[in-house]
């Protein structure tokens, strides 16, 4: 009977879980919650959890650092997390709450840049429009500040990693 502690990011949120084997079951503990279940490996991509008389299925696939998990029709992205390095998930990066590197929430094509470098912007003001799958998505700033850098041009294809624009608090 050994206990293993693991750190993960689930949809970008750090979560700590402990796993313990107990007879043929597993006991998962997270915060104040306890899950005791038998786990059955169905295939490389499917696990079955038997708990409380119910059978739940989880599908998983590893893609690089991330593991995509689907449970009962809901999808989650899980990745291993090293608390010491403090690596965070996706999304806009803030540094000490004074500046913002704005990213696109999904891959797409820049169809409009609504601001210019040096321009003052207010929280929730639209900075860039990214079109993907015939839908226009307004990318806004989460802080008041000044546009210090525009990394993209109209027509550029962007992904969700590359910063579009940098905004700095005044």
């Amino acid at each position: 009977m050994s206990v293993t502690e693991l750190d993960f990011l689930v949809d970008g949120e750090p979560r700590k879980i402990s796993v313990e084997t107990k007879d043929k079951a597993f006991v998962f503990r997270e915060g104040g919650c306890v899950l005791e279940a038998e786990v059955r490996r169905i295939s490389a991509n499917e696990l079955q959890f038997r708990l409380g008389g119910r059978t739940l299925r989880a599908h998983l696939v590893r893609d690089g650092e991330r593991t995509f998990v689907s449970v009962d029709g809901r999808d989650f992205v899980v990745s291993e997390f090293r608390p010491e390095t403090g690596r965070r998930g996706e999304g806009d990066e803030k540094t000490a709450e004074t500046s913002l590197r704005v990213k696109s929430p999904m891959p797409g094509k820049v169809t409009n840049i609504a601001v210019s470098e040096g321009e003052e912007v207010r929280k929730n003001q639209t900075l860039v429009i990214v079109e993907a799958m015939k839908m226009e998505n307004e990318i806004k700033t989460a802080i008041d500040g000044v546009v210090t850098k525009i990394h993209v041009a109209v027509g550029d294809l962007v992904d969700s990693e590359r910063p579009l624009i940098e905004v700095e608090k005044q």
């Binding site: 879980i17 043929k24 899950l35 005791e36 959890f49 409380g52 029709g73 999904m106 294809l157």
Partner: protein
């Protein structure tokens, strides 16, 4: 019959048409943009022709390139699918001029039904009910009052220059009329620089009910009953079913006959759909004609037993429509869910990317019309539709249960999809009770991914990831990694479940 058909589309509908061609012994030609070189429709066609760069306007919408592809491969007909060039009268005309059969309505009918104002006028002349509204300009409150009384409350104030909901006001009784007119005019003025408004009958919590029609070139026109398409998000259908829980045999017959009359008035041939708005008072109003094969055509196929794509091709080849109206009947119940590459937890943001894992739902009564495969990179350039999941069962309750199981079996990992969201829609008690209206999603699903089920799921995902991490480190001899005899030999035993603060 044609020897070869070019399919001027991509994704699941192109795959659907290619399949029909193969079963009819007709050669199929796919066209594809640079973004689609490895797409499923390219894989499945007998021939594939590139037609340009990723943006649709330079490829799938480029009429000359499409026609050149048809010429080069010797295709005698073009099936446009839905979207892209499907309802483009100019394209239908070009095809006619070049001697290539356009598998759809004639260009004259297409032009007529494509112009909403002309279509509405044609329908009114033919005695088809449209949403009643003022037809002359009014200025005095008294004129509006008279008009409102004639329409019957509730009525809606609408900006003449309007669009996008600006200037719109709902008026429930005469007392509310003047204040609504005034505020509506102010908003219209500021939005459009024009304060003229008019009144239209307000249809409360309407249903969107459409009728499938088939007409051959000799004018034999039949309807294949209704599809209930009220479950919409941002005015986009996301779930369709048939029969509609709102219709009884009398209303169904009346609406069906009206749909046939509408199509006859438009001089329509081949497959098409007449859309109606249905009020709580069971009155219905013509909205528009969808002059194409609809995304949701499979629910009609499964309940009527008529293969619509096959019929489209037969009609286009000049064959008579051999089905008589009295031979048709609806059997059982069918539901369709549209699986989109969107993230329902983040306001349905598009979610293109690589499908890292795909498990297709299957089984008796389950149909999965898909345009994707495992390893496919869903491009950012086109509609987010990945696949359609359609189920048929003996009755509505059984169909909903089957759909719920099938949605759970539909596993697409690597990108976000709407499958889980749709599962909650199908399992919602109001939906199960058949009370679907166009305001259903806004009312019952203002957001998703914040309920209790979400946190339960997240914890189980975490537990699954932990189990996998252990399996990897433990290697082939560790307990979770191996699926040895001991493991499978254990019947599940009933244990606890997530408990707050629990100790085992």
């Amino acid at each position: 019959m044609f020897g070869k058909i070019l399919i001027a589309n991509r994704g699941e509908i192109a795959v659907r048409v290619i399949k029909a061609c193969r079963e009819m012994g007709i050669g199929s030609v796919a066209v594809y943009s640079e973004a689609d070189a490895t797409s499923l429709h390219v894989r499945q066609a007998d021939e594939a022709v590139p037609v340009g760069p990723p943006p649709a306007v330079e490829s799938y919408l480029d009429m000359e390139r499409i026609l050149e592809a048809a010429r080069a491969t010797g295709a005698e007909a073009i099936h446009p699918g839905y979207g892209f060039l499907a309802e483009n009268a100019a394209f239908a005309r070009l095809c006619e001029e070049r001697g290539i059969v356009f598998i759809g309505p004639n260009s004259t009918a297409l032009e007529l039904v494509g112009d909403k104002v002309r279509a509405r006028r044609t329908m009114e002349k033919a005695g088809i009910p449209t949403i009643p509204g003022m037809t002359s300009v009014a200025t005095s409150p008294e004129e509006f009052r008279v008009a409102a009384r004639a329409l019957g409350y509730p009525v809606m104030v609408k900006a003449s220059a309007g669009g996008g909901g600006k200037g719109m006001r709902i008026v429930c009784d005469e007392a509310g009329l003047v204040p609504a007119l005034e505020s509506g005019k102010r908003e219209a003025k500021s939005a459009f620089g024009d304060d003229s408004v008019y009144l239209e009958k307000y249809i409360e919590e309407p249903r969107h009910v459409e009728f499938q029609v088939l007409a051959d070139d000799r004018g034999h026109t039949i309807h294949l009953f209704e599809r209930e398409c009220s479950i919409q998000r941002r005015h986009q259908k996301i779930l369709e079913e048939t029969p509609s829980p709102a219709l009884d045999p009398e209303l169904r017959a009346e609406m069906g006959e009206t749909a046939i009359r509408a199509m006859r008035a438009a001089g329509y041939n081949n497959a098409g759909t007449v859309e109606f708005l249905l009020g709580r008072d069971r009155r219905f109003y013509f909205l528009e004609v969808n002059a194409r094969l609809q995304v949701e055509h499979p629910v009609t196929e499964l309940t009527t037993g008529v293969d619509l794509v096959r019929r489209q091709i037969l009609i286009a080849s000049g064959a008579d429509l051999s089905i008589r109206q009295e031979d048709l009947l609806q059997r059982g119940h069918a539901v369709e869910c549209r699986i989109y590459a969107e993230d329902p937890k983040s306001n349905f943001l598009p979610s293109p990317g690589r499908i890292a894992f795909l498990r297709e739902p299957k089984g008796p009564g389950v149909r999965f019309d898909s345009g994707v495969f495992e390893g496919f990179e869903v491009p950012v350039f086109y509609d987010p539709i990945l696949a359609k999941l359609i189920v048929w069962a003996e009755d509505r309750e059984a169909a909903c249960r089957r759909m719920s199981v099938a949605l759970g079996d539909c596993v697409i990992l690597g990108i976000h999809t709407t499958a889980g969201f749709l599962r909650d829609v199908v399992n919602h008690p109001e939906f199960r009770a058949g009370r679907s209206t166009t305001s259903f999603i806004g009312k019952y699903f203002p957001s998703w991914g914040t309920e209790e089920g979400e946190e339960d799921g997240r914890r189980l995902a975490l537990a699954a990831a932990a189990y996998e991490a252990l399996a990897r480190t433990a290697g082939p001899t560790g307990l979770p990694g191996r699926r040895g005899k001991e493991d499978v030999a254990t019947p599940w035993t009933t244990l606890g479940r997530w408990r707050a603060g629990g100790e085992t």
